[in-house]
């Protein structure tokens, strides 16, 4: 059980996306599509014929698989409902961030492969956002890792099971902003747009179609859910199972589901109430949250919690 | 003892003669005369070496004397004369300063040398004044080099300096090993030949042997670098 918990991420991640979309539609006063719509989309895309530019090279064709595989790899390393398994494999959170980076690297390369301006634009902006987000994520991780005495996500999840400290609160807010940026949501990026001048993530995927697009999209959903899971593990691990007992896992699964839906709500509220920022206003937003992360570290040094 | 005193007197006379030729250089205006002054200077130097050679009957001093005569007294002056005539450099030494001032400066130099060396090195045996005179000649040679424009005058100044140095060495050691003297003489010869060639070349390139023009080379170089 504990060794296949990553299956949850793989199969439920489109659902989370569907829930967020549905909630957003409701906030905007629309009925919206079904929460299972992402599944239908993926299935349709897998069956579809692909149009590939003849400018592209093997990077373009390999990238979707690499992105998908690296995200799955990350999913394997994260304790989803039980902390037991990840001791045996490598549950290190710094590794996790770098495994994500594999996907990011190849996605950005693939975007440049077709030789279009849109791909370059998306790739370039994605890199900018990731440069601003990465140090912030790392500082948040440091704060929690220092408090827990380990960079292993399972250990972090087990040790901070009870209460949030001031430093964790600050790190949590910083981390949430990082997630918004990393998953390409408003106010950083607009996931629904296909307007050339505003897109970041979609710009990179513009040349993709058929099963490649399906893999890329699916990996994106998985990454979103994974980041939620990391938040849950780092800041609200309450309810997570310590071992593989059936009853504990059932409780943990329920708790996990509630937490995921809660985070989906938070995301859709943020998306519905904020406007997208101009690209060059991002540094001030992300710089602000970097300051939060530094503050959380300072708090940890000063008051020790 | 007595003999050596006599000898020292003779030496003094010759040394003073050397100094006089050097001083005379300050006032000469014709290049030909400058070369002549150098010739006299070299002959006097030859005599100065010959005197101890005769008295001590030292064969190596004979060799040194004859070599001095051959190179400094005959070959170099002839060569210089040839350049002077070939290049039609007969007239106009054109000093930066007037002859009178040049002469005065030479006097000051001699005074300084005498004043500073009076209690300095006690010259062993050879001559009371030879050392002081030799240094004065070096300085006067340098002064000539500074205050004259033509490359050939500078060569003459250099040769005077060299004679002065030769005299210094001689007065301090009563004759260096012959091999060193040979070397020095050969060096001087080469030096003069090379300088002669240079003078011809400078003339060729710049249509003048006026060394004032050499600053323009420097300026060109700096503008190139800048």
């Amino acid at each position: 059980m504990e060794n296949i918990q990553f299956i949850i991420i793989i199969f439920f991640s489109p659902l989370i996306q569907g829930i967020i979309k549905k909630l957003k539609a409701n906030f905007q006063g629309r009925v919206g599509s079904s929460i299972f719509q992402p599944y239908y989309d993926l299935m349709r895309l897998f069956k579809k014929e692909m149009v590939v530019s003849h400018v592209t090279s093997w990077i373009f064709r390999v990238a979707p698989y690499i992105v998908f595989v690296s995200t799955t790899m990350a999913a394997i390393m994260v304790p989803v409902i039980t902390t037991k398994s990840t001791y045996s494999i490598t549950g290190d959170i710094i590794v996790l961030i770098y495994v994500f980076a594999i996907g990011k690297f190849f996605m950005a390369l693939a975007a440049l492969d077709a030789g279009t301006a849109f791909g370059g634009e998306g790739s370039s902006r994605e890199m900018m956002v990731s440069i601003l987000v990465e140090p912030m994520i790392m500082l948040c991780i440091f704060t929690t890792a220092i408090a827990a005495g380990s960079t292993n996500l399972a250990v972090i999840a087990e040790q901070h099971n009870t209460i949030l400290t001031p430093s964790h609160m600050l790190a949590f807010f910083a981390f949430m902003i990082a997630i918004v940026a990393d998953t390409g949501r408003i106010p950083v990026d607009n996931p629904d747009t296909h307007l050339e001048l505003t897109m970041i993530h979609e710009g990179m995927l513009l040349e993709y179609s058929g099963r490649y697009l399906a893999l890329m999209e699916w990996a994106h959903y998985m990454k979103q859910m994974l980041l939620f899971t990391i938040v849950v593990d780092m800041f609200f691990p309450l309810g997570i199972a310590y071992n593989g007992g059936m009853s504990e896992i059932a409780v943990s699964f329920a708790a996990y589901g509630i937490k995921m839906i809660f985070l989906a709500c938070v995301m859709s509220i943020v998306e519905s109430t904020r406007a997208k920022l101009r690209v060059f206003e991002l540094p001030s937003l992300l710089g602000g949250s970097f300051a939060l992360a530094v503050l959380s570290l300072l708090t940890l040094i000063m008051i020790g919690r | 003892m007595e003999k050596s005193f006599d000898l020292s007197l003779v030496n003094d006379f010759i040394s003073v003669g050397i100094l006089l030729t050097a001083i005379a250089l300050n006032t000469l205006e014709r290049l030909e005369s400058c070369v002549k002054a150098y010739t006299y200077n070299s002959w006097l130097l030859f005599l100065l070496i010959l005197v101890p050679a005769v008295t001590t009957n030292n064969p190596h001093l004979y060799v040194a004397a004859s070599l001095t005569l051959a190179t400094k007294g005959i070959v170099i002056p002839l060569f210089l004369r040839k350049i002077v005539y070939q290049q039609k450099l007969v007239h106009q030494v054109q000093p930066y300063i007037s002859n009178l001032l040049s002469l005065t400066l030479s006097g000051i130099l001699i005074t300084i040398v005498y004043a500073s060396l009076s209690k300095g090195i006690s010259v062993t045996g050879f001559s009371n004044h030879a050392l002081k005179i030799s240094i004065a000649v070096i300085l006067i040679g340098l002064l000539i080099m500074i205050t004259r424009r033509k490359a050939i005058t500078m060569v003459v100044g250099l040769l005077f300096m060299e004679n002065g140095l030769f005299l210094t060495g001689f007065s301090l050691t009563s004759g260096m090993p012959v091999i060193i003297e040979l070397g020095i003489l050969f060096d001087v010869l080469m030096c003069v030949i090379i300088l002669g060639v240079f003078i011809i070349q400078i003339r060729h390139k710049f249509y003048s042997v006026d060394l004032d023009k050499s600053t323009t080379i420097h300026d060109q170089l700096t503008t190139l670098k800048g």
């Binding site: 692909m50 990077i59 595989v69 799955t72 961030i97 390369l109 279009t116 790739s123 893999l215 | 060394l211």
Partner: protein, 663 residues
């Protein structure tokens, strides 16, 4: 004794490699590089011997009791010998093809071999004199190699390099003289034994001078200006050696003098090194990003990596001064591991860049593009180098960066609040450089290898010769091996770590790197296996559920404009624009746009766009210093008017003054 034979065998081969091209300039093209190839293997074996066995006195030629040549090897030198040997091997193989059409082949062969020998000599030096002579020889030969192309750019780069390296040597010399004065020894071993006699204040001065002196060679940030100009100016096989190993001699110097000889110092030493490292890493990669010259870009990235190495070393020093020796050993392992890694991937990348420059006759990325189809193998190896340097898992860069992160986290255990704050902040800086490195290498690889060819030259590029590919392939393989077998790699140089920190980091198994202290571990090997199997599974599952792949080939999306030309692609400058704008306070960028209109304001005929960044250090530190020296020189210049008479006048004046004062 065998090791001595190996040593002399290797030495002989290099000397032969240096001499033969002098005798037979026509037939040299084989031997000048075959000899060092074999010689490098011999030296690699010798380095291994030093790492696994005992220290070794090689040869001592004493001139006087104080002056003499002493060569000695221990585990620390063994590690660096191994680094040089690995890279020399690949670069020699590469050079066989690379130098084929080069002018002055004979000179190149001689300099190549002597350059490598001088680096070995620096590492193996056993006393101050030997070290300084070897160090200067290395500097001079590398200067000759920088100016090898005889272009104006190389000449000015060479001049800057010569000046900087001599300023650095002056500091090193002063540090050594101070050590000699207070210990009375010229021998490193003797100095090390007598370190307790040195007063604390003097130790600090020696530390500062050694860091400045060796830091100049390593290229730490305010002293880095020569590096991005000199490294690209040299031929690419030499750039590879310079960036791969020569700058590591600076690291070696810091390790030898500061960590080995001076021993454990006050905590602020380590903090200073961490701060320098973080600054070098961040600024190095920031400047790298804006660079469109492929080789100069790589040179800037070397500055970044030197910074990362120093982060590990600094963290180790902080931990050592807090008495945490085991953790200090882990941090030192991180530093040395990254040293090894940087040698491998930077060597590889420079060789790759060399092939690309060779094929396209341009260093400018904007004139490349689409090379992945024309030079598939070069592109593949370059990709491996990029992935390694970006610290992506499965390749070696990742292991050392992970270790460095852990090392910086350990620093939180130190007593002072400054270290507690600095270390995690440096960790954030390291994360920043990691993300920046990804952006940088996406740019380099994406712009130069992907897309459409941007110039005629790029269209006609051809794959390079087999020997060049072999050199790169060898390094690529090493990048992968050291990436998935970190345990073995660490065991290889654990004796050097022990020598430097007095503790062992040996809690590593096959492909697993575990730390009991923080109950965390990584296993690149299992990561590798899992990812490969996931990849295969993904491909199969997609095939099963999606059916047969149906692909239509067409043009890239052109927004309805009929023909998409290569000029419509995103350029390297455009790619970095968002980042340049974000960090404009650091770049101090100035942009100029000039539009000429056919009909104002709607029909623009031509738009000229320039965006320059201001190199902060060059403009605000080096320029004022240079200006001051220039103005001083201008004043002194009047003394040197070029007037012969005036010069003679100086002589006369001096003589007269001497006469007067002498009496």
């Amino acid at each position: 004794m065998t090791s001595m034979y190996i040593y002399y065998f290797g030495l002989l081969l290099f000397i032969a490699g240096a001499i033969i091209p002098l005798i037979y300039p026509q037939k040299m093209k084989r031997f000048a590089y075959i000899f060092p190839t074999v010689g490098a293997c011999a030296f690699a074996a010798f380095g291994m011997y030093l790492l696994f066995d005992h220290p070794l006195d090689i040869s001592a030629v004493s001139i006087t009791p104080l002056l003499g040549f002493v060569f000695r090897g221990d585990a620390i030198s063994g590690f660096f010998i191994l680094l040089i040997s690995i890279l020399t091997f690949s670069v020699s193989v590469y050079s066989m093809g690379y130098t084929k059409n080069m002018a002055n082949k004979g000179v190149m062969g001689v300099l190549f071999n002597t350059f490598i020998l001088s680096m070995y000599a620096v590492i193996l030096s056993g006393n101050v004199i030997t070290f300084l002579i070897s160090w200067e020889t290395m500097s001079i030969i590398s200067y000759l190699l920088v100016t090898f192309d005889r272009e104006e750019e190389s000449a000015s780069a060479g001049l800057l390099y010569a000046i900087m390296t001599h300023v650095g040597t002056a500091f090193i010399l002063t540090a050594f003289l101070l050590l000699y004065k207070y210990t009375g020894h010229m021998d490193f071993a003797g100095i090390k034994e007598a370190t307790n006699d040195i007063p604390a204040g003097i130790k600090t001065i020696v530390f500062v001078f050694a860091v400045i002196g060796f830091g100049t060679k390593a290229g730490i940030v305010p002293l880095h200006t020569w590096l991005p100009r000199a490294h690209p100016a040299a031929p690419s096989n030499i750039s590879s050696l310079m960036s791969g190993v020569m700058i590591k001699t600076g690291i070696y110097g810091i390790l030898r003098i500061v960590v080995d000889i001076l021993g454990v110092g006050p905590e602020w030493w380590g903090i200073a090194i961490i701060v320098i490292g973080a600054m070098s890493a961040v600024l190095g990669i920031l400047y790298a990003l804006t660079e469109n010259d492929m080789k100069r870009f790589l040179a800037y990235s070397s500055i970044e990596n030197i910074g990362i190495i120093l982060l590990g070393i600094g963290a180790s020093m902080v931990l050592a001064s807090n008495g945490l020796h085991t953790l200090s050993a882990i941090a030192m392992t991180a530093g040395l591991y990254h040293t090894l890694n940087h040698t491998l991937f930077k060597g590889l990348l420079f060789l790759g860049a060399g092939s690309v420059v060779h094929a396209t006759h341009s260093k400018n990325m904007e004139e490349m593009g689409g090379l992945i189809k024309l030079m598939p193998y070069t592109a593949f190896f370059f990709l491996i180098g990029s992935v390694s340097i970006c610290a992506l898992p499965l390749f070696n860069g990742f292991v050392s960066e992970w270790l460095t992160f852990q090392a910086l986290l350990f620093d939180f255990k130190s007593a002072s609040a400054v270290a507690k704050l600095i270390a995690p902040m440096s960790g954030a800086a390291l994360a920043f450089t990691g993300a920046m490195a990804i952006a940088c290498f996406v740019k380099v690889f994406g712009i130069s290898f992907l897309g459409m060819p941007r110039s005629q030259h790029a269209e006609n590029a051809k794959e390079t010769s087999t020997s060049m590919l072999a050199g790169m392939g060898f390094l690529s393989l090493f990048c992968l091996l050291t990436g998935i077998f970190p345990g073995h790699t660490i065991k290889l140089f654990s004796s050097s770590v022990f020598l430097l920190t007095g503790a062992d980091y040996s809690s590593s198994g096959m492909g697993i790197l575990s730390m009991r202290e923080i109950s965390s571990s990584i296993s690149p090997l299992s990561l590798f296996i899992v990812m490969i199997s996931l990849f295969i599974a993904a491909v199969f599952l997609v095939r099963i559920f999606g059916g047969k792949r149906k692909i239509t080939y067409g043009n890239s999306w052109d927004s309805g404009i009929p023909s998409l030309t290569s000029r419509m692609q995103y350029t390297a400058t455009a790619f970095t624009n968002p980042i340049r704008v974000t960090f404009k306070k650091i770049y101090l960028s100035k942009r100029h746009t000039k539009v000429s209109y056919a009909l104002k304001p709607y029909f623009a005929k031509a738009i000229e766009y320039r965006d320059d960044i201001t190199p902060f250090f060059e403009k605000y530190i080096y320029q004022p210093v240079t200006d001051f020296i220039h103005s001083l020189a201008g004043k002194v210049k009047h003394l040197q008017s070029g007037d012969l008479h005036l010069y003679l006048g100086y002589i006369l004046a001096t003589l007269i003054l001497l006469l007067i004062f002498w009496s």
